[in-house]
Symmetry: D2
Subunit: 339 residues, 4 copies
């Protein structure tokens, strides 16, 4: 029986996320290789490609897609560039793992949805990597089994040690809470129908323009209520927690774990300082599962529909944040392709 | 030096709470004795008094107050009877530990405030026993020390295994969330200025008329935001948790503790089934501290003002619950006596 | 029905433990008062007595015992003085709570046993306060219920932040491990039949003469094996833990609890620095239960037999420590009075 | 730059461990492929090979080693077959990942050591997979950093839910405690110099012939003392824990983690039922690191020396178990190749 060759992946965008995906495919993932990298910065593309055997460097996604070495795309370029890259990928009928967001706004996401429907089959997996975190997977499986009855509420916490320069209040929704938006939709298998944002008096540790922390509330199509603490300058580390409160029990993920030490009058452990150690295995698993599915000729994981819905809820969230008012979300009817 | 005799306490009301306070004073508390019990049910009063040495039984609070054996009152009768008993106590200038609520509504509470001010000195401690729970006391002391900066948010959970017959949605605010109202005011040293209530699709385990669970939101005079899960038919036990999120750190109380067992494929421990084991030591400490202060001739702990403010926020909460709208609270100006 | 007067207690010895018991009886315990204090240092006795209403000061135990105000004794003098005080107490037929050790050696303990037997009824409770710690009480009750089958092993840890000047290796057994000796005998309801001591290369943080930490092993009459880490200069705080390994499950007490904080890259909590906060409630409960039993005319809790057995195992432990050899213990046959 | 082809691995032995390694290399590991499988059972070899693209089946290790497709060996055959396979591998100068034990006895291990020395370079990594568990790696890194000073004691627990038929007391040492032997040597970077085994009265849940649980004690060349609870019929699941007690702090790994649930009066989580979920990531990481090192032309991880030392300590452990006596271990001088 002949051996199946590794999947040739073109990684589009070689910033922090893109470069990390290049390393992941080159060193960790089974059954794939980095066939090409693409970056508008030709020098950076070449530098990254030079670290990988047999990897070409391009400045245009189209050029990579035209290469016979390229079987699939991992899009890690900035969000505004996603739509064009996705439409080109559809033209080449190539499978795509697209880092979140699918697109920065719901209108663009709708255009992607329509193009994928014209193609007639799913090609896109969106990079909501929490769905591949061991803890969230266990939580999902407890909820799906209905062990504790129907979920009624989710309590979520999402904390970053600090924000980079230029981080805005809207980014708290679009870049951070977007993960809780997807988590909520996925865990509950319901759509988010309304968003409310409460803004406490900001921490003095936050940049002057940033209303940090905030409490974001979701209402869902199935009547669940979700509260999300988003606190991006908490100072002490990176934390993501979620408790699902069900009819006869509750389940929490993201609690403290790891080495327990005793010293200097204290017990406890360390908190990761950013998302890399917290979700490293989730990223690995996400890409491995995508490669495995792609080699089997299937598409799994979060779809373009999930990317569109997240964009629509983000839009409502930013409005709710700006107005202080409960803001409802309106989604188009779910196309049959994403049923 | 002559020995100070024990404080003679009349316990008014011999229902579940009252009878437990009789036992506590008779068996646990140092420096006090049950001098009298009062209950409209003469048989019950006599039965309870008969279990305590030297204890008289009355059907009228006034009769107990007139006894030379009675130095102080512990009011554990139903809430609607509190106002009359308190006013009589003021007439006898007797120190009082009054079970919560001070009164069922803010108008009655205001009359109590006014009477106490006419008396010219504080006589009332209100039975918000959480202030005497070791965990909450540690949390308060961390916040007061400012170790982690200013508190920005509180996340609270309050769960009961199930409700007795006749338990109403309003009682979820007036009997249950009232504890989080006092906890918030005490921990933050701020007033609650607005209440919002979100009601998820109710649990099928809840009685038909009860919208259970609910998510109650407080905004405070210092700009903090507080979320409270109140879930009174959670099925699995009694849980009270509170996490204070501050500018550079967070602190949680009420986490699982106690014996950790491993058996039958599971690790963990037991959850108390009601408030008695959870707050037994808090009740003991509350009454002991009240007795100690009373014997020293001072009044400490939650005041009539705290009872009034709680009643006012409860009233706003019940409105918020009924209307689904954010409801602001209006307090009178804080009298000098309670400064 | 006339009121029973409080139990008049004479506290013998007003060092750290004695003074704390005086405070406890004076301020915390229900149904007792400090009628007298005794100390060879007349000034200290007077100073302590002066802080308590109606309290006499003596330099001789016999003088206190002769007082009609004294109904019971709490012996908190140094161990070598216990035997004489106990024999005098028997002469006055007074109930006694005797701080551990009952006596410093088994020969003296045997003389106390014989004297108590001549008296014909139990008069002594020994101050093994762990039996009154909530966590250990729960562990005992799980074992007694046989929920997980027969206990096979205990894993114990006993750590102090540091030792006072003059603390010797023998004191590691006689003052520290003596608690695990009693805990083992009580939890398992078995006698300890052999002791082995292993001595790792000592910590550089320990005083030069002290072989710290050590691993002490017990074998019991029922075939259980117990390991005890004794580490009295661990540097970081005071910790007492015990895990009982049974046929179908295990149960641990003494795990970290209390406020959980997040700050500066760490999660966790504080460790108490000495036994006072760790066992404060156990001391309170021990004395309260002793007072309650005494007022009912009964004697409960750890007996002179338990004091004797502990002394005998300590003696074997010190030998095992000095020789590096497994050392068996020999107890007299258990007298009927202690059956 | 040409792409490096995947490492062709021959897996020798297709029992539970071997078949799992085949799956791992075929589906998880990056940079390797299963080029051949070997099993004395030709049908089983063919069946396993048939599930993998381009995989040959052999009944003799030598045949696989002669294949030009085979670059490295993973030996997962029964322990008694290891020596012959290792010596053949040396003849072909092939890199080997050898499942533990290196050999069942120290004499055979010495012959392997000598042969590898004659070869003149290290070729063998022994499958002590705990060294690749995230928790143990963190513990090792804390100890190596010397954050808490020198390690003085280790407390270890190793529990299995139950044993398969035919499991003997010697296997408790050779198959189970061997992991703690390697863990001790690796964490402390010291040799084990003496072993003592204490045997409590066995659990009634253990098979009649099995003295289960046991307490195994190690003394090390650096003066540390290690206690190991080995309990292979604990009934409730699979647990591996280790606490390192150092001069100024302690660190534990293996504590309960994962989803925390509340239901039916209990809080807690599930315990894995065997080593597969507990150490799945450690196995993946072990094989990935071996493949990575092999492709770089280096040998890392536990060496033949570690395999020999473990065998020698196991031999002493079995003697200690049988005799009830402290048994010293004698190692040959460490050859320069393993310095």
């Amino acid at each position: 029986m002949p051996q199946q060759p590794p999947l040739g992946v073109a990684v589009i965008g070689t910033g922090r996320m893109g470069a990390d995906h290049v390393r992941r495919i080159d060193e960790v993932v089974h059954g794939a290789r980095v066939a090409a990298v693409v970056d508008v910065d030709a020098e950076r593309a070449k530098a990254v490609a030079g670290r990988v055997e047999g990897c070409a460097a391009y400045t245009e996604p189209a050029a990579a897609m035209a290469s016979s070495d390229v079987d699939a795309l991992l899009i890690a370029s900035p969000g505004p560039a996603h739509e064009a890259a996705l439409l080109q990928a559809f033209a080449h009928d190539l499978p795509v793992l697209c880092e979140k967001p699918l697109t920065p706004d719901p209108a663009a996401a709708l255009r992607v949805l329509e193009a994928e429907q014209r193609l007639g089959h799913r090609r896109v997996q969106v990079g909501f990597m929490r769905r591949y975190d061991a803890g969230f997977m266990r939580l999902k499986s407890v909820l799906d089994a209905g062990e504790f009855g129907r979920p009624l509420m989710l309590h979520c916490q999402h904390r970053n040690a600090s924000t980079p320069p230029g981080f805005t209040s809207q980014m708290m929704i679009n870049d951070s809470v977007v993960h809780e938006i997807d988590t909520t939709r996925w865990l509950l298998d319901q759509e988010i129908t309304a968003v409310t944002v409460l803004r406490p008096a900001p921490s003095t540790a936050a940049p002057a323009h940033l209303s940090d922390p905030q409490l974001v509330l979701f209402e869902t199509s199935g009547g669940a209520v979700v509260d999300v603490e988003i606190f991006v300058n908490c100072g002490f580390g990176y934390q993501v927690r979620c408790e699902a409160v069900c009819e006869s029990g509750s389940a929490r993920t993201g609690e403290e774990a790891g080495l327990v030490t005793h010293s200097a009058g204290r017990w406890g452990g360390t908190i990761p300082q950013d998302f890399v150690p917290r979700f490293a295995e989730a990223y690995d698993r996400q890409v491995q599962r995508w490669v495995d599915a792609t080699r089997r000729g299937t598409v799994e994981g979060p779809s373009s529909w999930d990317g569109y819905a997240a964009a629509a809820v983000c839009e409502a969230g930013v409005t709710a944040q700006a107005t202080g008012r409960r803001t409802t979300t309106e989604l188009i009817e779910r196309p049959a392709l994403y049923a």
